[in-house]
């Protein structure tokens, strides 16, 4: 199981949202008409044209405020349940790139009538209301196949995101985990064996987002 993997060190994320914008820019995705809904997080959730979303979550732990930021995206699961389920409805509607491990949706998904959480433990896929087509992050497969890194990774000035061969990313992630644990004993990597997007955080994964870890999401 080689292929590619992201390492996302949320302890360094400042929620600048450069990644969110660069994703739209590379893919030429339109802006969503939003309003301020009492949070900086906008659009409020992933949309059919928003594949990367920085989530903002405030938690109050015994009077101490923590503001957690999670640059959310599809995890490109090692065994993607979305692929399993969607391909049962429409064969080959979801492809799994052997070389990179990228999970890729095709237009054949248009007829699949499900809720996102019914096929994805991370509640990621979104459906276009008009065309019915499902969409999500495709690992910038066009860039990766040409030796480049995904757009979001190159935009991150804080060094939150890294992208490369899976073993290398796992090694970097665990090394960093050990480092962070010196200061924060409760540091974690969410579901490292199951996903190609290794999120490193501090405390309870659900304090970032209920779907950060499939375990905490109760699935």
């Amino acid at each position: 199981m080689q292929g590619k993997t992201f390492f996302i060190d949320m302890t360094k994320c400042t929620a600048c949202r450069g990644c969110q914008v660069s994703c739209k820019q590379w893919k030429n995705l339109p802006a969503v008409k939003t309003k301020n809904w009492g949070s900086h997080q906008n659009p409020p959730s992933l949309t059919p044209v928003t594949f990367k979303l920085v989530r903002f979550n405030e938690v109050n732990k015994d009077g101490k405020i923590r503001w957690n930021f999670m640059p959310e995206q599809c995890r490109h699961c090692v065994e993607p349940s979305c692929k399993l389920i969607m391909n049962m409805y429409v064969p080959n509607s979801v492809e799994h790139d052997a070389k990179t491990g990228a999970v890729l949706y095709t237009d054949k998904t248009a007829t699949i009538d499900l809720e996102p959480w019914e096929m994805c433990p991370y509640n990621v896929p979104r459906r276009d209301e008009k065309t019915g087509v499902w969409s999500k992050c495709n690992m910038c497969i066009d860039r990766v196949q040409n030796g480049m890194k995904p757009a979001c990774v190159t935009s991150c000035a804080m060094g939150v995101m890294q992208f490369g061969d899976r073993e290398e990313m796992l090694a970097i992630a665990y090394e960093r985990l050990a480092e962070v644990r010196k200061k924060h004993k409760d540091a974690f990597i969410a579901d490292p064996d199951d996903v190609r997007v290794l999120f490193l955080g501090i405390g309870d994964p659900a304090d970032y987002y209920e779907y950060l870890s499939a375990d905490t999401a109760g699935l």
Binding site: T34, W37, G38, N42, N60, F69, M158
Partner: protein
């Protein structure tokens, strides 16, 4: 910045106060995180818990405007607990200098205040001097008139209890801050400060920064790697625009604007050229006449420096109440301007008391706005409350090329002058600002020549050709002019220099008209060996690499010195205080590392060469509002009484007598403060046209605490109406525990945080400028408006209300 961006990583303690770098200077924050990874403590003292606080090791919320209370308390802590760096304080600061026996400080006021209480006679603030004019000293620091004792006495009033009642920080939080930061007062540790408009935009803006500079001097943090006083410049080229004097009181290179009465260049030079008889003082400003003459030759190459000087306008005083931003708009409001060129800015959203600014524009006969996009200024005549049929102002909008579509230098916060090459071609054949300036000058000069006029020569004699090639503005030639060249063949110190060759360094500039230099500080940037701002060479010596100096990456003023005052990083023998992070060191016959502040041997000159006496000014007798920072309330404040003196606010703060202020006014009970977010840029005149950014931050909002939300009956995401004495706006309430209520002397005060990025023009339903609420109040030294603290009322928004 005295230091530079990369240098932040060398710090052992990063104090972030008066700024929000994770949001507003994002790239700087990468170096903060690097310092933190290496073990530095990151402290954020800010009214709000922001994206910066989220990454800090420690955040505490201060009431807007109470910074000097906290910093004064820090100085008290440092002095009383002997945390200061003794050798440094004695050798490199004016701690030992004796102040006039007439100097007094009494209950919030310094000696010398005139009867109208709007000006200080500074004579009693001066130093006692010996017969040859050198300040008297007591290096035992025990004389009651020495700076150190004056400081000690002044800040003895800043007790934990007093500071806590001013700032809202608990005494525990204060002690934590003080003990962590003052631990950098040893040779082996460096603390840095990152500040921005959170400090400058107050009626005590300059004194805020002075207070921190004093802390840094006491702790020996100036001139060292990982230390310094670091202003984060928010605009990408705001450092450059300051260097080139986009301000009323200075000329390029921080030379002084001539005052009325300085009838000759000689008189002007005399006033501005300090004299020191101390053999250890390099007193660099002694060279003022060379820099002024060279600037005049750059502007008026065909005239002598004296003739050139006669071309310059004079101003009546450097008082902020005369020529700075607020009085300018006040005068326009009173109909005293005929026309205005408003270039690359959007005052109809950025100006304090925006209704007044917008009204002032209607008093003009004509107005030209040059900008990338239309904005609330270019389109003011059709804004809310305006009746275009009744507005006389003839308005022009000239779109121009954006920064990435043209080439030229850009100066970053760390004083690096970097060449930027042009990216894409400007759309629709648009031209650059430089081009428009030149065309405008050509037209005006032609009119003067054809039709004559009063005092035409300053325009007609101007050597604009120094910046023009084949009729077009030429940024490369302009860069050469900034450096300057020899006007004729000259011999200096036995060496021959030739007409037309570039001057190698400002040490060779002359006062007789034989050299020109558009900005003496930039002299050495563009020599005969080329334009150093284009250099992209990463090589460095091991000493330089150790602290990430990168001296060959672009060029930095002055003379490529990357860390200012670096002679203060070594002892009198030239040995670095902290050898592990040496900036410079004496090798026996020369200096290794950075370019030192003067190349002479260790111990021969004082390190702060730009100061007359060569030492850091713990005590500074030059500012308008006092030689020591004193804590004053903002001019609009919830408090009736200063927590520990009888002088509520700065007696000298600039304001308009006839404009009412909300002081402990029950109609305006809440503290307002303004700021920026990552996703928008200044007034938003560039970013509000960009759908991806509007998607992220679509509407004017107000961050408020849960307690205030409950009090006014507003839920998260609902609209509120905000009102000050100047006007009202709506905003979407963001109810968050990140906003704290301030408990002061048993009372609870609520704060409302507002971004100032919005404007009525776009997007639809985006809201309007927060500056509709801010006041025309300013710092007495600079005139910068007090955008960071004012008083408001808030209530639930009613349909149709605004």
């Amino acid at each position: 910045m005295t230091n530079h961006w990369i240098d932040i990583k060398n710090s052992d303690c990063v104090l972030i106060m008066g700024s929000n770098p994770a949001e507003n200077h994002p790239i700087s924050f990468k170096w903060v995180l690097k310092a933190q990874e290496k073990g530095a403590t990151v402290i954020h003292i800010d009214p709000r818990f922001t994206r910066t606080s989220a990454k800090a090791d420690f955040h505490a919320a201060l009431r807007p405007g109470s910074d000097i209370a906290i910093l004064g308390g820090l100085m008290k802590y440092i002095i009383e607990n002997k945390k200061y760096f003794n050798d440094y304080v004695i050798n490199y600061t004016n701690a030992s200098y004796l102040v006039s026996k007439d100097f007094k400080f009494n209950d919030g006021l310094f000696s010398g205040l005139n009867e109208e209480k709007d000006n200080y006679d500074k004579s009693s603030w001066q130093f006692q001097t010996t017969s040859d004019g050198v300040p008297k000293q007591d290096t035992s620091l025990t004389n009651p008139n020495c700076v150190f004792q004056i400081l000690k006495k002044h800040y003895s009033r800043y007790t934990l209890k007093n500071v806590s009642s001013a700032s809202g920080l608990s005494t525990q939080e204060l002690t934590k801050l003080y003990s962590i930061y003052s631990a950098t007062g040893t040779a082996k540790k460096a603390g840095t400060i990152m500040y921005a408009m959170g400090w400058t935009q107050h009626s005590v803006g300059v004194q805020n920064i002075r207070a921190m500079a004093m802390v840094q001097l006491l702790l020996g943090n100036m001139g060292v790697a990982g230390g310094g006083v670091n202003a984060l410049r928010g605009e990408c080229n705001v450092q450059g625009s300051t260097d080139q004097a986009l301000l009323f009181h200075i000329l390029p290179g921080y030379l002084k604007t001539p005052l009325a009465g300085q009838d000759t260049l000689e008189q002007h030079n005399k006033v501005n050229t300090p004299v020191s008889n101390d053999p250890k003082s390099a007193n660099w400003w002694k060279n003022y006449p060379k820099y002024s003459a060279s600037l005049l030759k750059a502007m008026y190459s065909n005239l002598t420096p004296e003739e050139g000087y006669q071309m310059l306008p004079r101003i009546d005083s450097y008082k902020a109440s005369e020529y700075s931003w607020l009085p300018l708009w006040d005068r326009m409001y009173d109909g005293k301007f005929e026309g205005a060129l408003i270039w690359g800015m959007n005052p109809a959203c950025s100006g304090a008391d925006t209704h007044k600014v917008r009204k002032a524009l209607t008093e003009l006969d004509w107005m030209v706005n040059v900008n990338i996009f239309q904005c609330e200024t270019s389109d003011f005549w059709k804004g809310p409350g305006m009746d275009p049929s009744k507005i006389k102002t003839e308005t022009f909008f000239i779109p121009c090329a954006s920064a990435i579509e043209k080439e030229g230098t850009i100066a970053n916060s760390g004083r690096w002058i970097q060449w930027r090459y042009a990216g894409p071609e400007p759309l629709n054949g648009l031209l650059t600002d430089g081009h428009y300036f030149h065309e405008l000058w050509e037209e005006v000069a032609k009119l003067y020549e054809e039709e004559g006029g009063v005092h035409a020569k300053p325009i007609t004699e101007l050597s604009f050709d120094n910046m023009v090639t084949d009729g077009h503005f030429d940024p490369r030639k302009t860069a050469r002019l900034l450096n300057g060249w020899f006007m004729k063949d000259t011999v200096i110190n036995g060496k021959q220099y030739y007409k037309g060759h570039q001057v190698p360094s400002f040490a060779l500039l002359q006062d007789d008209g034989s050299t020109c230099s558009g900005n003496w500080l930039y002299c050495n940037m563009y020599t005969d060996s080329g334009n150093q701002s284009m250099s992209r060479d990463l090589t460095q010596t091991p000493e330089q690499a150790n602290i990430g100096l990168y001296p060959k990456w672009t060029w930095c003023w002055p003379v490529n010195r990357r860390i200012l005052y670096n002679r203060a990083s070594v002892n009198l023998d030239g040995v670095p205080y902290n050898p592990k992070k040496a900036v410079i060191s004496w090798t026996g016959d020369s200096w290794a590392g950075d370019v030192p502040d003067g190349g002479s041997a260790p111990g021969t000159i004082n390190p702060f060469i730009m100061r007359t006496h060569g030492v850091g000014q713990l005590y500074g007798p030059g500012l308008a509002d006092g030689p020591l920072p004193e804590y004053y309330e903002p001019l609009e404040t919830p408090l009736k009484k200063h927590p520990f003196s009888n002088q509520l606010s700065s007696p000298l703060a600039f304001h308009f007598q006839d404009e009412e202020k909300a002081v402990a006014d029950p109609r305006f009970p809440y503290i307002g403060t303004t700021y920026r977010v990552t996703e928008h840029w200044q007034t938003g005149s560039m970013t509000r046209w960009e759908p991806w950014l509007v998607e992220l931050e679509p509407q004017m909002f107000a961050e408020i605490s849960p307690a205030l939300a409950e009090k006014i009956g507003v839920k998260n995401g609902e609209k509120v109406t905000l009102e000050s004495l100047r006007g009202k706006v709506w905003a979407v309430a963001m109810v968050t525990e990140r906003i704290k209520d301030f408990k002061i002397d048993g009372n609870e005060y609520h704060m409302i945080g507002l971004p100032w990025h919005y404007g009525w023009l776009t997007p639809d339903d985006g809201g309007d400028s927060a500056n509709i609420l801010t006041a025309g109040i300013g710092d007495p030294n600079t005139g910068i408006p007090e955008y960071k603290a004012f008083m408001l009322n808030a209530r639930k928004w009613q349909e149709g209300e605004i």
